[in-house]
């Protein structure tokens, strides 16, 4: 496959939320939600971003779109630096980058009809007004599998899956190139999930969209992504082509995460070996020293608690941040043999 050019390039991106205390609101610490991440998203591809709650994946998506201000680092979109741009400078770029939110119940204004929800961005960005906007709304509704007459209804008249389709139509209205989909199917029932996933894939083909697909469901991410990045407590620990990541994960956290997914097949369940991690995900306020995974890692050694591992490319396009892998020449540790550490 010839490599498409990078549409989004993220370098050393950081987002800290200050914690203040006392009547003077003294700055006492930071929640390091995103703490130095690097990756690229190629034009026309889907990059899956997975991680457990608190890993910083949602914050990463929001900072990339400039819905939250970065603490440091750089994000370029189509060659333009986004960090540091003022509101006015950002506005024309907002047409190019859109977001689909997780909760289709909370992300649609209950007092607006679906038609006006979809029309609003068209008018704000001066794309269409009046009858032309009306027509575009009808077209968008059809595009996402709804009926044109649905434009006059309110969000509460729709089921979860239909509301998410409205969210997709709103994002598409301005003709974006890049869409951040933040857990777009996790609030939906399984039978409806598949409808929305298929819709997102069809639209990507039709319009050549680029997706950053943020999710905690690793089966969904494998299905939809070309490449996958794994986050753990504010850092990306591994990134690779989808199949390489799922078939040959290098980082011990990726391995444990993949082995923890319940597989809906009683036969597979009995065959596979499971790596059960002990303990909980550490807090991003006071993350562990060195490698952030060392407190739960079955193969951690002295260096891991002292030195932050570098994000190294071990195979073409396959990067991971792990001292063990580095010291073993890019080999993945065999965790099924390692003794589990007791919390």
């Amino acid at each position: 496959m010839s490599q498409a050019p990078d549409l989004v390039v993220v370098r050393d991106l950081r987002k800290y939320f200050p914690i203040t205390a006392g009547i003077l609101q003294r700055h006492v610490a930071d929640v390091k939600a995103v703490d130095g991440i690097d990756f690229e998203i190629r034009a026309g591809e889907t990059l899956g971003l997975v991680g457990e709650s608190g890993s910083g994946k949602t914050t990463a998506g929001r900072v990339i779109l400039r819905l939250a201000d970065a603490t440091g680092g750089s994000v370029t979109f189509d060659g333009r630096e986004l960090i540091g741009l003022g509101r006015g400078e950002l506005r024309p770029l907002r047409k190019e980058m859109q977001i689909i939110f997780q909760d289709p119940y909370a992300s649609l204004n209950p007092r607006m009809t679906v038609g006006s929800i979809i029309r609003e961005p068209l008018e704000i960005h001066n794309i269409a007004h009046g009858a032309a906007a009306e027509e575009r709304v009808q077209e968008l509704l059809r595009l996402v599998g709804l009926q044109p007459q649905h434009a006059n209804r309110y969000p509460h008249e729709f089921s979860g899956g239909q509301r998410q389709r409205v969210g997709v139509a709103r994002a598409l209205a301005v003709g974006p190139k890049f869409i951040v989909a933040d857990e777009p199917v996790s609030a939906l029932d399984v039978s409806i999930q598949a409808q929305v996933i298929n819709l997102l894939q069809d639209l990507q083909q039709q319009f050549g969209l680029t997706y950053l697909f943020i999710a905690h469901d690793l089966s969904v991410v494998r299905h939809i992504s070309n490449r996958v990045a794994v986050m753990y407590v504010g850092k990306i620990v591994e990134i690779a082509d989808r199949d390489r990541l799922y078939d040959n994960p290098l980082h011990p956290y990726t391995q444990a995460l993949l082995s923890a997914i319940p597989i809906p097949d009683p036969d597979t369940v009995r065959r596979r070996k499971r790596i059960i991690l002990s303990g909980d995900i550490p807090s991003p306020v006071n993350p562990p020293s060195g490698c952030r995974f060392h407190t739960r890692c079955p193969v951690a050694f002295a260096r891991c608690s002292v030195e932050v591992p570098a994000f190294i490319e071990f195979e073409p396009g396959h990067r991971a941040a792990c001292h063990w892998v580095e010291e073993h020449g890019g080999k993945a540790p065999d965790l099924s043999a390692a003794p589990a550490i007791v919390a």
Partner: protein, 348 residues
């Protein structure tokens, strides 16, 4: 005799828009030491089933008819005082959200000890000692110290373990777990599933696991009950359900899942939307979305028996549907008295 048997349970809710039959004639049984998975989407009636068994329905809910037999005795005939002795002692429950189901102003030690003091008559000191044992059992580090902590000092996975410790502290014969891992991350979910399997092996309790996650079911359950629109649409062993599903809804559910072991292919969704319980179709609840639907499906549909305990509610297996069938399907034995139609009063 089954340890817990539900017969023809019908639970309704009074709402502003009319009366909703959330569970409509459900029957099933659970044997000691086994795990039954109840799967279904939101609104299928799975949580209402568990709340009906425990008699913990909201005030607008009502058990219209049926029996809930625990060791042969009907729980629906018990007084509230008798129920209070059974809840937590004989039948315990784990809820989905461990934060809202723990009391925020009591230490978790007090909360675990409360159950054993009340139900087993333990002294304060013994109850606290038992609480330490239970916390150790669910692998909370430094249990003597954590006993004095409040729920907010625990992470989500730890709180769920505290809930399990509490639920198991009186060695209940039946444990009802309603989406016990849904709010948790996968690595934590794996810990909790392993813990529940271990606890069951140790105590021999029967578990009713309510979930929408077919992966969790495959990992934990011997038997599976699939619910749709307030009723059982399929029942069988996990093997039967996953390898040879009979009801098109079950087939659709399995096909619509992205599978780690079969990546890449296009997903096959179930078209349409989940049923509105206020406007249920007269026949099979799944008929409007079913790709194999036939004219006969608009009539009330019974359960069909495929032998060795595998049941499905679908006209595809009825000999009366010969000539209408859209796919080849064997004829199975109709179980008389199992046909259900939506109650007329559900429509206003």
């Amino acid at each position: 005799m089954a340890l817990l048997e539900v017969r023809n349970l019908k639970t309704t809710f009074k709402t502003e828009d009319g009366i909703v039959a959330a569970v409509n004639g459900l029957s099933f049984a659970v044997e000691p030491g086994s795990t039954l998975g109840i799967v279904g989407e939101s609104g299928s009636g799975k949580s209402v089933t568990s709340l009906s068994i425990m008699r913990l329905l909201a005030t607008n809910g009502r058990i219209e008819s049926g029996e809930v037999l625990f060791k042969g005795e009907d729980l629906l005939l018990k007084s509230e005082a008798e129920m209070r002795k059974i809840r937590g002692r004989d039948i315990a429950m784990i809820f989905q959200d461990p934060m809202t189901s723990l009391n925020p102003v009591l230490t978790i030690g007090e909360q675990i000890a409360e159950a054993t003091r009340l139900h087993l008559g333990l002294s304060n000191r013994d109850a606290m000692a038992k609480a330490v044992d239970m916390l150790r059992l669910v692998r909370i580090p430094a249990p003597e110290k954590r006993l004095k902590d409040y729920p907010h000092q625990f992470s989500g996975g730890m709180r769920q373990r505290v809930m399990i410790a509490m639920a198991l502290s009186c060695d209940p014969a039946v444990l009802i777990a309603d989406e016990p891992t849904t709010a948790l991350d996968v690595t934590i979910q794996a810990q909790i599933i392993e813990l529940m399997n271990e606890m069951q092996a140790r105590l021999g309790s029967a578990i009713v696991l309510i979930t929408h996650d077919l992966g969790v079911v495959a990992e934990t359950c011997e038997n599976v009950l699939v619910m749709y629109g307030g009723n059982m649409v399929e029942y069988g062993t996990a093997r039967q359900i996953f390898d040879a599903p009979k009801m098109p809804y079950t087939m659709g559910l399995l096909e619509s899942l992205p599978r780690l072991d079969q990546a890449g292919s296009r997903l096959v969704p179930i078209e349409g939307q989940p049923p509105n319980l206020l406007r249920m179709p007269p026949g099979c609840a799944f008929e409007p979305r079913c790709r194999y639907r036939m004219p006969i499906c608009k009539e009330p549909v019974s359960l069909y028996d495929f032998g060795s305990g595998h049941l499905a509610r679908c006209f595809l297996y009825d000999q009366r549907a010969e000539g209408q069938k859209t796919i080849p399907a064997e004829n199975a034995t109709l179980l008389p008295g199992t046909a259900v139609a939506p109650p007329q009063d559900a429509r206003r």
